[in-house]
C-alpha cells in the first residue's frame, strides 16, 4: 500500500484489534488442545499451563481410541457431512440457476418461499420430523440426518447462489445456447465454474453447523452404529463423573476433519466473501 494512505498509528491500532480478536477466538480451541495432552490432575491444577514431561499424558486419546468405536463415529460424521454438503451444493445451485435464469409465473414468490427457511429454524419442526422419520422407517439411519441437513442448508445456499448467478453474463449463456449446449451443459460447464467462489462460501457455511450438530443425531440417529463424533463424545460426559481427558481428546480430534475441509475451501472462500464488495 502506498505510504500516502497509511499512517503507522492507525495500522498499529487496526492490527492490535485484529490480534485481540484472534486471541479471543482461538483461546477455547487452544485450551482444549493443550489440556487434551495432560493428565487429569494437571488439567485441574493448572488449566492454562502447557504440558510438561511431568504432566503430559495421552490417556485421553487412549481412552477415545479404545472405548467406543470412534473410527466409526468419524466415518458417520464424514458421510453425513459430505453427502449433505454435496446435496446442498448441487440442488441449491440448480434451484438458484432456475430462479435467476428462467422467467416463470411465481418466480419471485418461489424465491421468497425458499428464503423463508433462513429465518425459521428447522429445529422448530423436530417433532414433526421425528414422526416423519419413524413413519418412513428412517430412524437410526444416516440417510435421515442427510435429508434433514440438506433441507437445513438449502435456503441459504439458494439465496447466496442465486444472487451470484444473476451476475453471470447472459451473453455467455446465450452463446452456449446458440452453440447447441444443453441447459445442463450451460449450468455445469459455463455457470458453475464462474460461481465457484460463492460455492465455497456456501460450502463452509453449510458444513460447519452440520459437523458440529448434536441435536439431530441425538434425536434421529442415537444408535451405536449411526453415532456421529459429537454424539460419541457425549459418552464421556456423565451426570456425576466426566472423563475430561477423553472429552478433550475427542473434541481435538473432531476439529481435524473440518479444518482440512476448511483449508480446501478457504482460498475460494476469501474470494467469495470479498468479490461482492470490491467489484
Amino acid at each position: 500500500m502506498s505510504s500516502a494512505r497509511t499512517s503507522r498509528s492507525r495500522s498499529l491500532a487496526a492490527h492490535g484489534i485484529l490480534m485481540l480478536y484472534t486471541v479471543i477466538a482461538l483461546f477455547p480451541v487452544f485450551v482444549i488442545i493443550v489440556n487434551s495432552f495432560k493428565s487429569r490432575r494437571a488439567i485441574f491444577a493448572e488449566p492454562l499451563a502447557l504440558p510438561t514431561p511431568a504432566t503430559a499424558d495421552l490417556v485421553g486419546y487412549r481412552t477415545v481410541l479404545s472405548q467406543g468405536d470412534f473410527l466409526l463415529y468419524f466415518q458417520n460424521s464424514l458421510i453425513v457431512t459430505v453427502a449433505s454438503l454435496a446435496a446442498v451444493l448441487l440442488f441449491g445451485a440448480m434451484a438458484a440457476f432456475a430462479l435467476s435464469e428462467y422467467r416463470f409465473r411465481g418466480n419471485t414468490l418461489m424465491g421468497l418461499y425458499l428464503a423463508l427457511g433462513i429465518m425459521i429454524p428447522i429445529r422448530l419442526g423436530t417433532v414433526a420430523i421425528l414422526q416423519l422419520m419413524v413413519a418412513s422407517g428412517l430412524v437410526n439411519t444416516l440417510l435421515a440426518l442427510i435429508l434433514v441437513y440438506t433441507a437445513q442448508g438449502l435456503p441459504l445456499a439458494i439465496f447466496i447462489l442465486s444472487e451470484f448467478m444473476r451476475t453471470v453474463s447472459p451473453d455467455l449463456k446465450n452463446a452456449g445456447r446458440i452453440d447447441g449446449l444443453s441447459e445442463y451443459r450451460i449450468f455445469f460447464r459455463l455457470v458453475l465454474p464462474l460461481v465457484r467462489p460463492a460455492m465455497a462460501t456456501v460450502a463452509v457455511f453449510t458444513m460447519i453447523p452440520i459437523w458440529n450438530d448434536l441435536w439431530f443425531p441425538l434425536i434421529l440417529a442415537p444408535a451405536e452404529a449411526t453415532k456421529t463424533v459429537t454424539l460419541g463424545a457425549q459418552v464421556f460426559i456423565g451426570q456425576f463423573v466426566t472423563n475430561w481427558n477423553a472429552v478433550l481428546a475427542a473434541l481435538s480430534l473432531a476439529i481435524l476433519p473440518v479444518l482440512v475441509l476448511y483449508l480446501v475451501f478457504s482460498r475460494q472462500l476469501i474470494r467469495g466473501i470479498t468479490s461482492g464488495a470490491v467489484k
Partner: protein, 333 residues
C-alpha cells in the same frame, strides 16, 4: 444461403410492449443494420431472430423455413455478442470449434474449419490461449471467428464494437465489412451508432419505440428521410429543426442538415450568436444560438475562425430542406 422474413412480430413482457409489430424482408447476402436509440427494441428483435426470446406473436422465417419453434442451435445462425461471451475455460481453438462439434461434425472437419477461420482473421498465434489472456480486440476477433466456423445462414451481431476503443472500433468495422464481402453471407447487425450503420449497411432499419420508422439504403435515409425521427437520427451533427413559419416555409418544422446552412458575418436570413465552436481539422462545427430556432449547428469544411459570442447570420439552403408536419411526418412539397 440465407434470407430472413419477419411477419408482424410482436413482443411483450407483461404489460410492456417492446416490439409492436415488425415486418421485414432481408435478402440473401444482404448486410442489414438495425439502428435506434437505446430501449427501442433492436436487441430484443435480434434475440427473437436468434431464438433466445420467443415472439409473442408473428412469424420468423429463415431461408423459407418457419423457425418460431426451432431452438437457437438448430436455426443455423451464429451470433457475436457485445461482451464477446467467450467460454472462459476453453482455449481459442476450442471456443471456435465447440458449436460445430456440438452439431455432430467429425474432428477433421472441425479442425479444418477452425484453421480456415483463424487464417481469415489472423488468429493463428492465439489459438492455444485462453480468453483471459487476450485483449479486447483479440477477444472480439475470436468471437467473430467462432461465428464463421459454423458457416451459418445468418450472422447476427449484437453491438459487437461497443466495448472496443475508438481506433479498434474502426479497424474491426473494416474487418467485418471485408468479411461480409468475402463470405457473401447474410448479416444482421444491431448498433446504436449511426456511423457504424451508415458505413456497414446495405440496408438500414431504423427502429424507435418498438416500431420500424424507415427501411432503406444509407443514402436513401440520409437524402430522403420518411419522418422527423429518421432525419434527426441519421447524420452527425444531427439535423437542425427550425421553426418553418418565420422562414416562410410550409409545414411546422424545417429540417436542414448542418452542412446545408451557410454562415456569414455580414448578412443572412437568421441573426444568431456563436455559442460554441468545434475544430476538428478537416471540418469545423459552429453552434449558434438564435431566438426563434434555438441552437443551430453549422458544419463547415476546412478550418474557420469563429469566436464565441460573435454575431453571425445563418442562411439555410431551402432546396436541401425537409418539411415536417406537426406530428413529425414528412411533407413532400
Amino acid at each position: 444461403m440465407g434470407s430472413l422474413t419477419l411477419t408482424a412480430v410482436t413482443k411483450s413482457f407483461g404489460a410492456t410492449h417492446v416490439i409492436k409489430g415488425v415486418d421485414l424482408e432481408v435478402a440473401d447476402g444482404e448486410f442489414c443494420v438495425f439502428v435506434g436509440p437505446s430501449g427501442c427494441g433492436k436487441s430484443t428483435l435480434l434475440r427473437i431472430i436468434a431464438g433466445l426470446e420467443d415472439a409473442t406473436s408473428g412469424d420468423v422465417v429463415i431461408d423459407g423455413r418457419r423457425v418460431n419453434d426451432v431452438p437457437p442451435a438448430k436455426r443455423e445462425i451464429a451470433m457475436v455478442f457485445q461482451s464477446y461471451a467467450l467460454y472462459p475455460h476453453l482455449s481459442v481453438r476450442d471456443n471456435m470449434g465447440l458449436g460445430l462439434k456440438q452439431s455432430g461434425a467429425d474432428a477433421a472437419t472441425v479442425k479444418e474449419r477452425v484453421a480456415a477461420a483463424s487464417a481469415m482473421l489472423s488468429l493463428d498465434p492465439l489459438l492455444e490461449r485462453r480468453p483471459a489472456e487476450l485483449s479486447g480486440g483479440q477477444r472480439q476477433r475470436v468471437a467473430i471467428g467462432r461465428s464463421i466456423v459454423r458457416t451459418p445462414k445468418l450472422f447476427l451481431f449484437d453491438e459487437p464494437l461497443s466495448n472496443l476503443d475508438a481506433a479498434l472500433r474502426v479497424a474491426t468495422r473494416i474487418e467485418i465489412a471485408r468479411l461480409h464481402r468475402e463470405l457473401g453471407a447474410t448479416m444482421i447487425y444491431v448498433t446504436h451508432d449511426q456511423v457504424e450503420a451508415m458505413t456497414l449497411a446495405d440496408r438500414i432499419v431504423v427502429l424507435n419505440a418498438g416500431r420500424v420508422e424507415q427501411v432503406g439504403a444509407p443514402m436513401t435515409l440520409y437524402n430522403d428521410p420518411a419522418n422527423m425521427f429518421v432525419a434527426g437520427f441519421i447524420g452527425s451533427p444531427k439535423m437542425n429543426f427550425l421553426a418553418a413559419g418565420p422562414l416562410g416555409q410550409p409545414g411546422k418544422t424545417l429540417g436542414i442538415r448542418p452542412e446545408h446552412v451557410a454562415i456569414d458575418r455580414g448578412q443572412g436570413a437568421i441573426a444568431a450568436t456563436v455559442s460554441h465552436v468545434e475544430h476538428l481539422g478537416g471540418e469545423t462545427n459552429v453552434y449558434a444560438r438564435c431566438e426563434e430556432h434555438g441552437l443551430v449547428a453549422v458544419r463547415l469544411f476546412g478550418e474557420h475562425r469563429f469566436e464565441v459570442d460573435e454575431r453571425v447570420f445563418l442562411t439555410p439552403d431551402p432546396a436541401r430542406g425537409f418539411h415536417f408536419a406537426e406530428d413529425g411526418s414528412r411533407l413532400r412539397v
